[in-house]
Amino acid sequence: MTEIAASRRTTTRADAMHLSDEALIAQIARGDDDALGAFYDRFGRVVYSLALRIVRDTQLAEEATQEAFLAVWRTAGDYRASRGSARTWLLTLAHRRAVDRVRFEQRRVVGNVPLDDTTEREIREVIPSAEDEAWVVFERERLVRALRQIPDGERELIELAYFDGYTQSELADRLGLPLGTVKRRTFTGLGRLRTLLEAER
């Protein structure tokens, strides 16, 4: 057993800290568990925070986080840089797992939660946390600045789809809008977000 573990271990913890996200994924694809640990150290909080925001339950958030990183472990060999950064890949995996849980567990807040409730407050203010690393704070501030410039109707749709797992049809029903309008606004809002984020780089 120790031989198996040793043969997989090709990166030391100190090495891994200096690797790019994509290089870590390449190491993980070779079965390097130290690289997986380093990837978790880099993104574990972000993934857990995202999962918790979506599922609103610490146990489910832990499960979704674990599944996301295990999915990275199992499928790192399938990662394609042409389909986006390693970080985006991880966050997409994590988002899917959390949203699947919300849809499966029917945990999202059902009913008429006002659109300007917690979601909007959370996003429009930067909630400082001494625990956050500097790069996370930077990303959050960049995002909040961008979101403030997006029309409310578009931003709300993005937030409800992303954080509450509503499908476009559910949003159309819930908001009493034609499905085509929901789809168009979501796409337009995401396009704006993308342009604003790129301009901030």
Partner: protein
């Protein structure tokens, strides 16, 4: 939508990025993205913007044991694709971070590499001392290894089980008629471990990670299992 010749609609890209596309549509979109640079650039841009939304979630710190839990689960996974067996549905368990239900859903789609398992089986059979009674061997699913049964006694080849976080042990279970009974503990690096008690054809032998000292009933998803032939 003709996935090969026309560009994807914006709405298709959004639905795909949000994980809303059904399987058939997702395959078609994926195939198109593979061959169309323009749509792929558009998709990557959308996905990147969506991914950044994650940073709007209030920052929270995961429980400190989550890291070790993820690494232990990863270490115990066979790097090769494996097939699901009947053990997952056989035993009710309380919902833990590794739930019995998530085992079946997570492992279900995997494909067996029968050749690889057969090689392991042969190696195990050759390595074990020969007995006068005929031995039957069943490959483990989940971890490379096998269970060898002679008469009604089973031996687990446990060499493939990886390290565990401190305070945890491997525990074997014999699942018979939908109920699990404890069948002994072992530590990482163990060789051939006797399974406690008699086993019968059709029984499933499963292994979970449990708190040190073992549990009276499984509290987590089996890491590996095999059905007695």
């Amino acid at each position: 939508m003709n996935p090969d010749s026309e560009h994807l609609h914006d709405e298709d890209l959004v639905a795909y990025a949000l994980g809303e596309s059904d399987a058939a549509r997702a395959r078609a979109i994926d195939g198109h993205l593979e061959s169309c640079d323009a749509c792929r650039r558009e998709y990557v841009g959308l996905l990147d913007a969506l991914g950044t939304m994650a940073f709007a979630a209030p920052g929270r710190v995961p429980p400190p044991d989550l890291r070790a839990s993820i690494l232990a689960a990863a270490a115990n996974e066979s790097p090769a694709p494996i097939v699901s067996g009947p053990a997952a549905a056989a035993v009710p368990g309380r919902r833990g971070r590794w739930s019995w239900a998530s085992l079946s859903s997570g492992w279900g789609p995997r494909i067996a590499i029968a050749g690889g398992l057969a090689v392991v089986l042969i190696v195990v059979l050759l390595a074990l001392p020969q007995d006068t009674s005929p031995s039957r061997s069943a490959p483990l699913v989940g971890v490379h290894g096998a269970v060898v049964v002679t008469d009604h006694r089973a031996v687990l080849d446990a060499a493939g089980f990886g390290p565990l976080p401190s305070g945890r042990t491997y525990e074997m279970w014999v699942i018979h008629g939908g109920a699990a009974r404890p069948a002994g503990l072992f530590t990482p690096g163990a060789g051939n471990v006797p399974v406690r008690g008699a086993v019968a054809p059709g029984d499933v032998i499963a292994v979970t990670a449990e708190p040190a000292g073992g549990s009276p009933q499984p509290t987590s998803t089996p890491i590996a299992h095999a059905q007695v032939q």
